[in-house]
Symmetry: D2
Subunit: 139 residues, 4 copies
């Protein structure tokens, strides 16, 4: 299934249905999605680092966008079943990026792996995660 | 190690050092911690549910507070190493609560289990998680 | 759903359908299951500890038994979707035990938390885990 | 750190110190390790599939070998801290393989991602995992 999804359509859906999300879709490929996030002062936790939950939220968005790619359609009701994240090094920077890569898709779920980095330091990932998204069952 | 930690002191530290955190410590016991969170409209994702990342942030706070309990001191630099979360049912309500329970502590890390519920529905947990917090090494 | 399942029937199914399993069901309650395992020399890894995979296998069995409890029937095709495990302290002993507790069940999956200990040291858990088991979809 | 580790030396250590392990090191690169496993009848669970714990054991070995690569030395006491695994499709075949890739290493831990496949079906991974290995602290 190699339907081309449109980044602008994804972002329009997010703005309309989930206005509170601060994460933006940046790129969609046939088996990956990239999301970005602009760090705000409220994200900074003791030590001066971007808090884990801000990274988690970005990962969750990137994997959500990945599930659209895997399903070949924008599916807002693809819900996170489970997500495990590992924090690898302190995150410092103005923008965070996350690339999510498809591991498998079947009629029940989408599984992907995600990596987060700051600014242009693509080789210094600050966290990595794997997660499962439940595909809505046909009614 | 059964040092009694003070809830108000924990919340004062959070307000001072991590002003962006929207989670509050509610209770500290010798092997558990309870945190709470007031849902805001920005947390609502498609379907009308509280988004996963808001639940994750609450879990992360509760486990952070738990690590203070386990260490017998308020230790802001106890950092999340890894956290895995499972979303069990839709979360709807005005306030979220999370209870984190200690599984083990050693000189390197604290491990706990957390459960989230909405309002007074303590028997309908919306997510459950386990995580590891790294204890700062002596310099 | 509080169907009483029979420990002997569960063990008979395991012996018949999964003869290679070295884990035995010990107890079934309305929201928990206990499994046990006899350590063999092949399980001992460097340092003299019971290897992680032997503990994982026991956890996987206990959560499998728990899914029978949650579904109210012996359902061999309840399959592990995902499992995350944390190793807390060295495991040494002749028998391992695992207690799995139900977190949630719906028509798609069963989620539980598990704790492993050695011999009679129930208060010194050597590993803890959470996992999701997929319920077979009706055909 | 790009010390070249020798596959035969790794397998000799495993045979000597962890005779019960049924997993073999196949290849070591500067940021990856590959392990293999020959399926035996005892591994087959209901449905005719290779059981999850056999796959977990292979993943655990591959990540252990990866930690040697990351540390630049054969370090039998690199211990699994936590491992989360997702089962993606039924595993059927005579041999299982696992490739583990390095995500990060620091003085406390090694984190890697692993993928398992059967026989020559490298594009049909049956499970994927991420895990953390604790580096022994200097005494």
């Amino acid at each position: 299934m190699h339907v081309v999804l449109d980044v602008d359509e994804v972002n329009a859906m997010v703005r309309e249905q989930f206005a509170g999300s601060r994460n933006r879709c940046l790129e969609l490929g046939h088996n990956y999605a990239v999301a970005e996030y602009e760090v705000v002062p409220d994200d900074i936790r003791p030590g001066g680092f971007v808090a884990g939950p801000a990274q988690f939220a970005l990962v969750d968005s990137a994997l959500w966008f990945l599930s659209f790619v895997a399903l070949g359609r924008i599916e807002p009701m693809a819900l996170t079943s489970e997500l495990s994240i590992r924090f690898l090094r302190p995150a410092q920077g103005e923008r965070l990026f996350c690339r999510a890569t498809l591991e498998a898709v079947n009629r029940r779920s989408v599984v992907g792996t995600a990596r987060v980095w700051c600014d242009d330091r693509t080789d210094k990932i600050t966290s990595t995660a794997q997660g499962t998204y439940a595909v809505p069952l046909p009614r």
